[in-house]
């Protein structure tokens, strides 16, 4: 109350209300621009949710959609999207498994071990790495990786090369710079005193990294990995180009697979708005959107926990 009355007094002291109003104008206008982002969230969520739930009004129930059979051209057509969800989860998980040791190791190297010249190579290299477009990764996968798997690993079941493993490998390279640079920031921000203390107790550098730096940075590194997985789950073209696009439940790493993003990319152009096939693709888009939002909320939770420590 006291604050309010002081404000009122200042207002009357500075004279006309309109002068103050004009002073406030920049604040309001810039706020308006900033609030566009909120509008975008509602628009995107609204449009995708609206189109993504339409299939349930076209005579398909939740059990039909959450089945493992995808046969859009059969009679009657079946639109089970479980193979795509399982594919996305599987490809993302294996990509994270491959990428995590590489990228966290690289982050430790850049922060703890690298001399200045090596860091001056590694850091710009990560920036270039993250900038390589996803179609280029996909094209690299088709022209180099897939033939290589087919010729060298056919004994392991890679008969066609286009496979779950190929998709995960391409993704692991794509998310490597993401995980590396976020982990690097976290590791480098561990207070210097903690390292000095450990070294003063007679620890070697590796002991300091293992028992002091890494434990202190764990939550941040997990955040980095989750953000990397988020990128992997949403990546479309690179995966679609190398994964083989077979709408079945994942069986083996050497077998062709498909993901939510791949199927949307492939089928959207062949379907017409209003038919169930098209609506099923929108449902997949909605699932993807919800997965991404869940990742964001999870990361927020993690970082809140981190700040309490």
């Amino acid at each position: 109350m006291a604050v309010a009355s002081t404000t009122q007094r200042t207002e009357s002291l500075t004279g006309s209300q309109s002068a103050l109003g004009r002073l406030d104008l920049p604040r309001r206008l810039t706020l308006l621009a900033a609030m566009i982002v909120i509008l975008l969230v509602f628009l995107v969520l609204g449009f995708v949710a609206w189109n993504g739930t339409r299939i349930f009004f076209a005579g398909f129930g939740l059990a039909d959609i959450l089945s493992t059979t995808w046969a859009p051209t059969a009679d009657p057509p079946q639109f089970g999207i479980l193979p795509f969800i399982a594919g996305t989860v599987g490809v993302t998980a294996i990509a994270a498994v491959i990428s995590t040791p590489l990228s966290v190791g690289l982050a430790i190297f850049m922060s703890e071990i690298a001399p200045r010249w090596a860091r001056n190579i590694a850091q710009p290299a990560m920036e270039v790495f993250v900038g390589i477009p996803s179609v280029v990764w996909g094209w690299l996968g088709i022209t180099i990786l897939v033939p290589c798997l087919r010729t060298n690993l056919s004994w392991a079941g890679f008969n066609v090369g286009f496979s779950w493993f190929a998709g995960s490998l391409v993704l692991s390279l794509m998310i490597l710079p993401t995980i590396t640079s976020i982990s690097y920031d976290v590791i480098a921000s561990v207070p210097h005193e903690m390292r000095s203390g450990s070294v003063a107790l007679g620890s070697t550098r590796w002991q300091t990294i293992r028992h002091v730096v890494l434990p202190a940075a764990t939550t941040g590194i997990v955040t980095a990995i989750v953000l990397g997985m988020m990128r992997a789950a949403g990546e479309a073209l690179a995966v679609q180009m190398v994964i083989g696009n077979r709408p079945v439940m994942p069986t083996g790493l050497a077998d062709p697979l498909t993901t939510l993003t791949s199927q949307i990319t492939l089928d959207m152009g062949n379907t017409v708005a209003g038919e169930p096939w098209n609506e099923a693709l929108w449902t997949m888009g909605l699932v993807l959107l919800l997965i991404s939002f869940a990742f964001v909320l999870f990361v927020r939770r993690l970082s809140r926990r981190n700040s309490y420590q």
């Binding site: 604040r27 179609v135 180009m241």
Partner: protein, 298 residues
């Protein structure tokens, strides 16, 4: 405590980290060299300027034009809006409910997979607004996820301006807005420009959001003297379908037609990689130059 074994393990660990780092950088180097070598014999001035052809090697001239056109169109929308939004977040927003909601929204929008942004663009811009497959629809789709990015970049650049600069300006009697306009913004420009160029690199290579918005075809007979925006042959018009270089690579691969697919896609990939290198280099150099000039003159 530190026995011989710990020392040996320390050596081993250090060695492993060096090998790992060398491996990752070598992979990146190998990828770049691979595409540069693969594009030898294809990549020429003629390839960069001529139109695609179904029977011959052709070129990617109009397609590169589309890439730059959509890039510029996107930046025209996102840079002013993003900077203004960034001003609010850096200078006015505190810890209130609305600023927090804006931050959450930024994170949510940045997390949306680009293919889903493509779907959204298809439903809103292409169909509901009736803009059909066009450079305009494409640029608007790209705006969706670049606006929050641009906002955050300019916010960070403005937050990096020392508080003393603001205090000095306010002490001289300048209003808050005058301080932002004449002190904070000029000092933040090097950071903002660096951010714009790095964002530009991402926009240039984006494909998934453009397949269903900017479309898969392009007029191959651009006439640069034609400024009639309703005419699809005018390269200046945002109203016709405009394949970009990244989308073109994807399209070539999925159609698999023609005997020159491999050469064209290799050369196009090389162009994209060179563009990424140039954008990064440009951001570094320009950022450094602007930094020197703005600190030197003060």
């Amino acid at each position: 405590m530190t026995g011989n074994r710990s020392l040996i393990w320390d050596r081993v660990a250090t060695g492993v980290f060096w090998i790992l780092a060398t491996f990752v950088v070598a992979v990146l180097g190998a990828i770049i060299v691979h595409f540069l070598l693969a594009s030898i014999g294809t990549l020429s001035l003629e390839f960069l300027t001529s139109s695609p052809s179904r029977t011959e090697l052709g070129g990617v001239g109009p397609i590169i034009w589309n890439s730059f056109y959509i890039l510029v169109l996107t930046l025209l929308i996102t840079v002013p809006l993003g900077t203004i939004g960034g001003i609010y977040m850096a200078e006015y927003a505190g810890d209130g409910r609305i600023p927090n909601l804006i931050r959450l929204s930024q994170e949510l929008i940045s997390s949306v997979p680009s293919i889903v942004v493509g779907l959204f663009g298809l439903a809103l811009f292409v169909i509901a607004f009736g803009w059909s497959f066009s450079a305009l629809s494409g640029a608007m789709a790209l705006t969706v996820f670049n606006l929050p990015l641009m906002m955050r970049l300019s916010e960070q650049a403005m937050r990096a301006v020392p508080q003393d600069e603001r205090d000095a300006s306010l002490a001289l009697g300048a209003s808050k807005w005058q301080t932002i306009h004449h002190v904070v913004l000029p000092l933040a420009i090097p950071g903002i420009v660096t951010g714009i160029i790095l964002t530009a690199g991402r926009i240039f290579g984006e494909a998934a959001a453009l397949i269903f918005t900017a479309g898969l075809s392009t007029p191959s007979n651009y006439d640069f003297t034609n400024f009639n925006l309703a005419d699809p042959r005018s390269p200046w018009s945002p109203f016709h379908s405009a394949t970009t270089l990244s989308v073109y690579i994807w399209k070539l691969n999925s159609e698999g037609l023609g005997s020159y697919v491999r050469q064209i896609a290799d050369a196009s990939s090389a162009i994209l990689i060179i563009a990424v290198l140039l954008f990064n280099l440009g951001a570094r150099l320009l950022g450094r130059t602007l930094q020197r000039r703005s600190t030197g003159s003060r």
